[in-house]
């Protein structure tokens, strides 16, 4: 904060000072600037005037000399005699002291006359000046001013030449002393240090106060002012530096005739001396202003900041809590207004604080009260939760707390029980008062507080009971000494069932808050009362649940047994229904049988063991459909009075007075009765009756369970048997399908059959069709001796049990072997100790395969299901035998086929060899003879040899083709699939056949499509095919051409062989691909050939998955097309 304030102050002060300074500086600066400009202009103007005056003087001087010399140039003058002219010259020298020499030149530049102050006059000197500048320039321009030069190193001179007028005029040359110019320049004064000087047209110094500079022939072109003047640009340079390097004010004037310039310069230091004085004055004023401004700034800032500081301090005090503080600012401006607003704001704050404090106080009071109530309620709740089952204590606490909190003296909780109100909890009531109430309990009506509250169902507030005309308990009020009473109803499910009442011993109405509090306590009381009620009910229900659960557990732990269940049921029933003894009977539709008994000595039970219900007895009622029979007092019944034995005995012997019967029924059917007795006269409550019914239901469940369990056991046993059988079938089936080893299958079958049928032995017989008899094949359960004996027996188809079963195609069973007709096997079995047997035939279709038998040592029959299972096994066995036979046959056939194939291969190889060997001799000798190995041959013999050779080759071709075809037929021709190139194949074929074509003067061409992909197939075989086609074409074509065209499209190659031969008739087109088929005419016979080539070609192409086509017109030629997949996989030949 402090920094901020300080900076505000500084800001103000700096602003004021800055403003003043700025004004002063700008003012002083501008003033100085204008003064400077004016002064400069003035000075330059002055200098210029002086320069011009000097220039004028110099110009006048030169002009005058020019005029003086001028008259010597007139033409008439030139005609005057030389002496005259000389005289004139001398006179001129005298008249004009500045001229030191005059020379007259004739028209050719020859010196005519020379008159000088310094030398002897010369007349007719004749020196040639024709080349001098003074001569030439003067002739050209009439006047010539030469450059300034110096004589005796001290005086400036200039040559002036004037041309004469008239024809062939001469020139007068005058040397002029320029000392006068020096005088002019030196005389010129500007201030103390100002000076003037003159430069010629080349910028060289002509005159200067410092003569030495002139004599040194100083060149001033380097000075900007000189350069500007020489350039004649008109822009004079006013500020410049002189030769000495000092800054000067410069002005100049030109002498146009001579091209000279007069400069007047004055050093800046001197020229601007007054200006500097003015600047100093200005600075002094600025300083003074600064001082003044500083003082003013400080003062003003202080004035402005003061009230703000006051505001700030005040605000801080108010912020710090001093709400009484007021700002006192009397500036009469916005600051005072601001302070006023601050003060008003503070006042409002003060007011709202006061309001808030009041509210807080009130709220705190409320909170304290609520807290007290909450604490009380919490305490009550604690008590309630801690002593859930001690209702009295809970209610005492409730009423006590309510009494205390509501500043009452007496509190009582009433509950309507029947037609009277009873106190449940009290506080502050004297024993006498409670006694008085007990003597005359309040009844419903308007007479008492509690009854009125319950009747009205809302809060009843009696300000003075003694003043209430309807209030009946005036005596009690007097006894208790209470006057004002408050009653709040206790409500459960919308129905008032009691009252929470408070009373004061003085007349002082309860406040709304207190009434509200009592209502809360009343609610708590209701909850407590309800809780206890619910808990009691729950406990009872739990007890019953536990009992039934225990019974259920007994049912579960002793499945299939009823006695423990009945015992448990009876025990629980007696306990929960508070009965003395009881029985459980089962009913069989006629009589009752005792199933369980409890609470009665064993010796007395005998009487109940089994009896038929007497007519009109309770049991009879039950039998006739009643669910429950209840006799509150057995003596007080007609049955007892009329002396029905059972009833009388019940009372006289067993001391029963009250009895309850409940039927055990399952879907209307009576299963039994449960009955319990009390030895005292006390009716069973509804709850107890329904409980006994529950027990009866449980007993029924138990009975049903046992029944179901027994059924389940039977079923399970059955199922287990079935599963066993299925397993057997499965095993056998698996054996049948998994092994074709017949022995294994049949052994499995017999073994499993013995197991399933629980037989002691089993046998399997096989039937021989040839011999029409059965022989033992496998046996289970036979010892060595028995087995050997049994094996020896032949059982004929006729007159045997096996034969009978096989003929009937059904099992034959006997339980007494001895009763069967005697035969060797029967006798052996009897001898081995078997009594019963079953014989199952093995038949497949119409074919008898054998049979199997099972034997038992006992005479027990085989059950029907076992028999049917045996039949199934038999069928499976038959199938197995059949399968095995078929398998053997197939194996045999395969073997033979393989053998045949081997034989064929061998045959092919042999045939190849056998045919080639003699051919080798034939062709070998022929060739050697033809080659003259055996001496020269005659022409005729050669012809014969050629025929032999041709026929031999043809035979070889035939042999090769037949072999190929045989191999194809035998499936022995295998393609060797590799990558190949169609162009290469075509090229190979063309190379092999072009000589043939040439011999017949045929044109052989090949065209290959663009971008042929690599093919996959058997290159050698495909070449063979194409060779065959091209060979045929050449063979059958006598004139024209044979062309091969190959192209690739749609993943296929199409290779066409086109000829211009005789063509093929349509009816022959299909035939030509068959073996040994040629188009049968004289022509083809003449051409020769095996007639196998196309057949082989077609097979090879087909093996590549392609086809071969022919397209022909008789007389025009044929086209054979081979179409094969580009990438062939080997396929079986069609």
């Amino acid at each position: 904060m402090r920094r901020f304030r300080l900076s505000l102050f500084v800001k103000y002060a700096a602003l004021i000072v800055g403003l003043v300074i700025a004004v002063l500086v700008v003012n002083g600066g501008l003033d100085l600037w204008f003064t400077y400009q004016d002064t400069k202009q003035e000075l330059i103007g002055l200098q210029k005037e002086k320069a011009e005056a000097a220039a004028q003087r110099i110009e006048e001087f030169v002009t005058e000399i020019q005029q003086q010399v001028g008259w010597t140039t007139f033409a008439q003058w030139a005609l005057t005699p030389i002496e005259q002219r000389r005289y004139d010259y001398v006179r001129l020298l005298r008249q004009v002291p500045a001229i030191t020499e005059l020379v007259e030149l004739d028209g050719k530049g020859k010196e005519q006359l020379k008159v000088s102050r310094l030398a002897m006059d010369v007349v007719g000197g004749g020196a040639d000046h024709a080349q001098d500048a003074s001569f030439t320039e003067a002739l050209a321009k009439h006047v010539y001013f030469g450059p300034v030069y110096f004589r005796k190193e001290s005086e400036p001179y200039m040559t002036m030449a004037l041309a004469g007028s008239g024809r062939n005029a001469g020139v007068t040359v005058a040397e002029v002393n320029l000392k006068l110019i020096w005088d002019v320049v030196t005389a010129l004064k500007v201030g103390k240090e100002g000076y003037a000087y003159v430069v010629d047209r080349r910028g060289r110094l002509i005159a200067h106060p410092d003569i030495s500079l002139v004599l040194r022939d100083t060149d001033l072109r380097s000075l900007p002012q000189v350069a500007a003047a020489l350039a004649g640009s008109g822009e004079a340079v006013a500020l410049a530096r002189n030769l000495a390097g000092r800054r000067v004010l410069s002005a100049s004037a030109a002498i146009p005739d001579l091209g000279w310039h007069v400069f007047v310069e004055q050093p800046l230091a001197e020229a601007f001396t007054p200006l500097y004085a003015a600047a100093l004055r200005g600075a002094a004023i600025v300083l003074f202003g600064l001082l003044l401004a500083g003082l003013a700034g400080l003062f003003l800032s202080r004035r402005m900041i003061g009230p703000i500081r006051t505001l700030e301090a005040g605000a801080r005090r108010i912020g710090g809590g001093e709400l009484d503080h007021r700002l006192d600012i009397k500036t009469g401006d916005e600051l005072e207004e601001l302070a006023g607003q601050f003060n008003r704001m503070t006042e409002q704050l003060q007011e709202s604080y006061a309001g808030l404090e009041r509210k807080v106080e009130e709220r705190t009071r409320d909170l304290a009260e609520t807290l007290e109530q909450q604490t009380a309620t919490a305490d009550v709740l604690k008590v309630i939760s801690r002593s859930t089952f001690d209702l009295e204590r809970v209610l005492d606490t409730l009423v006590g707390t309510a009494t205390r909190l509501c500043a009452a003296d007496i509190g009582i909780i009433w509950r309507l029980e029947g037609d009277v109100f009873r106190p449940l909890g009290t506080h502050g009531a004297s024993a006498e008062l409670m006694h008085a109430f007990a003597q005359d309990l309040p009844r419903p009506g308007r007479e008492t507080l509690a009854s009125r509250t319950v009747q009205e169902g809302r809060i009843v507030h009696i300000v003075d009971v003694l003043a209430d005309p309807a209030y009946k308990y005036g005596e009690a009020a007097k006894l208790g000494g209470y006057r004002t009473a408050l009653g709040v109803p206790l409500v459960r499910e919308g129905v008032p069932f009691g009252a929470f009442s408070l009373a004061r011993k003085e007349v002082k109405p309860f406040t709304d808050k207190q009434i509200e509090l009592v209502a809360t306590f009343a609610d708590q009381a209701v909850i407590a009362i309800e809780n206890v009620r619910l808990i009691t009910e729950t406990r009872e229900a739990l007890e019953r649940q536990t009992a039934t659960a225990e019974v259920l557990q007994v049912i579960n732990t002793s499945p299939g047994e009823l006695t423990p269940v009945f015992d448990a049921v009876l025990e629980k029933a007696l306990r929960l229904c508070e009965a003395s003894f009881g029985h459980m009977f089962r009913y069989d539709g006629r009589s009752m049988r005792l199933a369980a008994s409890r609470g009665m000595p064993a010796e007395e039970v005998g009487w109940f063991r089994e009896w038929v219900p007497d007519k009109g007895s309770a049991m009879d009622e039950i039998v006739r459909g009643a669910q429950v029979a209840h006799i509150a007092d057995v003596i007080d019944t007609d049955a007892y009075r009329s002396g029905i034995e059972s009833r009388v005995k019940l009372v006289e012997v067993f001391g029963a007075r009250t009895a309850l019967w409940v039927a055990l029924r399952k879907d209307e059917a009576l299963l039994g009765v449960i009955v319990i007795y009390r030895r005292e006269v006390r009716a069973f409550t509804d709850k107890q009756i329904s409980l006994l019914q529950t027990f009866a239901d449980q007993a029924v469940i138990a009975i049903e369970n046992v029944r179901l369990l027994n059924e389940l056991r039977d079923r399970s046993a059955e199922l287990a048997r079935s599963v066993e059988e299925l397993k057997t079938l499965g095993e056998v089936g698996q054996a049948v399908s998994s092994t074709l080893d017949l022995e294994t299958v049949l052994t499995t079958v017999v073994t499993r059959a013995v197991e399933i049928a629980e037989a002691d032995s089993g046998t399997l017989f096989r039937y021989s069709r040839e011999r029409r008899e059965f022989r033992l094949y496998r046996a289970v359960g036979f010892d060595e001796t028995l087995l050997a004996e049994a094996r020896a027996i032949r059982i004929p188809l006729e007159h045997s049990t096996l034969g009978l079963a096989a003929t009937r195609r059904a099992p034959v069973e006997t339980t007494a072997l001895v009763e069967m007709p005697a035969n060797a096997m029967r006798d052996l079995m009897i001898k081995a100790g078997f009594h019963s047997t079953v014989v199952v035939p093995l038949v497949y279709g119409e074919r008898i395969l054998g049979g199997f038998t099972l034997q038992r040592r006992t005479g027990k029959a085989f059950p029907a299901n076992v028999l049917s299972l045996l039949q199934t096994l038999a069928n499976q066995s038959a199938m197995a035998i059949q399968n095995a036979r078929l398998f053997r046959e197939i194996q045999e056939q395969s073997r033979q086929l393989e053998l045949a194939s081997q034989h064929k291969s061998q045959f092919l190889a042999n045939m190849s060899h056998e045919l080639r060997t003699p051919l080798n001799a034939i062709l070998g000798y022929t060739e050697m003879m033809a080659d003259g190995l055996y001496g020269e041959l005659g022409e005729k013999a050669k012809g014969v040899l050629e025929r032999v050779q041709a026929n031999g080759r043809h035979l070889l071709g035939l042999i090769n083709d037949v072999l190929d075809l045989s191999k194809i037929e035998a499936g022995q021709l295998k393609l060797s699939i590799e990558d190949y190139s169609v162009p290469a194949v075509v090229q190979q074929v063309v190379s092999a056949t072009e000589s043939l074509a040439r011999n017949k003067s045929l044109e052989l061409t090949s065209t290959i499509g663009e971008a042929m992909p690599a093919g996959r197939g058997d290159e050698r075989r495909l070449t063979q095919v194409l060779l065959n086609l091209v060979g045929n074409a050449i063979k059958f074509t006598d004139k024209g051409s044979v062309s091969i065209r190959a192209l690739a499209a749609n993943g296929q190659f199409e290779i066409a062989v086109v000829d211009t031969g005789p063509g093929i008739k349509p009816e022959d087109c299909a035939r030509i691909f068959d073996e040994f088929q040629q188009v049968d005419d004289t022509n083809t016979r003449k051409k020769g050939g095996t007639g196998l080539g196309l057949a082989i070609s077609r097979r090879i192409v087909q093996m590549h998955g392609g086809r071969i086509e022919v397209d022909s017109t008789v007389g025009q030629g044929s086209t054979f097309r081979v179409i094969i997949p580009q990438r062939a996989e080997e396929t079986e030949a069609a």
Binding site: L908, A909, S912, H913, E914, L915, R916, T917, P918, L919, N920, A921, I922, L923, G924, Y925, E927, M928, D931, L933, Y934, G952, L956, N960, L963, K967, L973, K974, S976
Partner: protein, 121 residues
């Protein structure tokens, strides 16, 4: 020096052709009529080249070739199979047995001679 060629061939006619052909070409010919005799002749005579028939009595040409090629002293001798086995796979079998060349019967004497000269370098 005259080159010596062993011809293993069971057919007399074919031996005669060989005799005429090779004799006329200026070779000396050694003969054997079965495989075993061929092996013995090769060991005994150490010829410059062997023409081996395949289907031979006693021992076939494959076995004879294998035995000759198994002998380090004879291994360098080129053996040409001259056979009437012209079925596919027969050439591979011959080469597998160790034959350096393969000529099918019926052969052209001219071509056989060319092949023999080629192998004699």
């Amino acid at each position: 020096m005259t080159k010596r060629i062993l011809v293993v061939e069971d057919t007399e006619d074919n031996r005669q052709i060989m005799r005429d052909l090779l004799g006329a070409a200026g070779f000396e010919m050694i003969e054997a009529e079965d495989g075993a005799a061929g092996v013995a002749a090769a060991e005994r005579e150490k010829p410059d080249l062997i023409l081996m028939d395949i289907q031979l009595p006693v021992m076939d040409g494959y076995e004879a070739t294998r035995r000759i090629k198994a002998n380090p002293e004879l291994r360098h001798i080129p053996i040409l199979a001259v056979t009437s086995y012209a079925l596919s796979g027969d050439e591979e079998k011959a080469r597998a047995a160790g034959c350096d060349g393969y000529v099918t019967k019926p052969f052209s004497p001219r071509q056989l001679l060319a092949k023999v000269r080629e192998h004699l370098g």
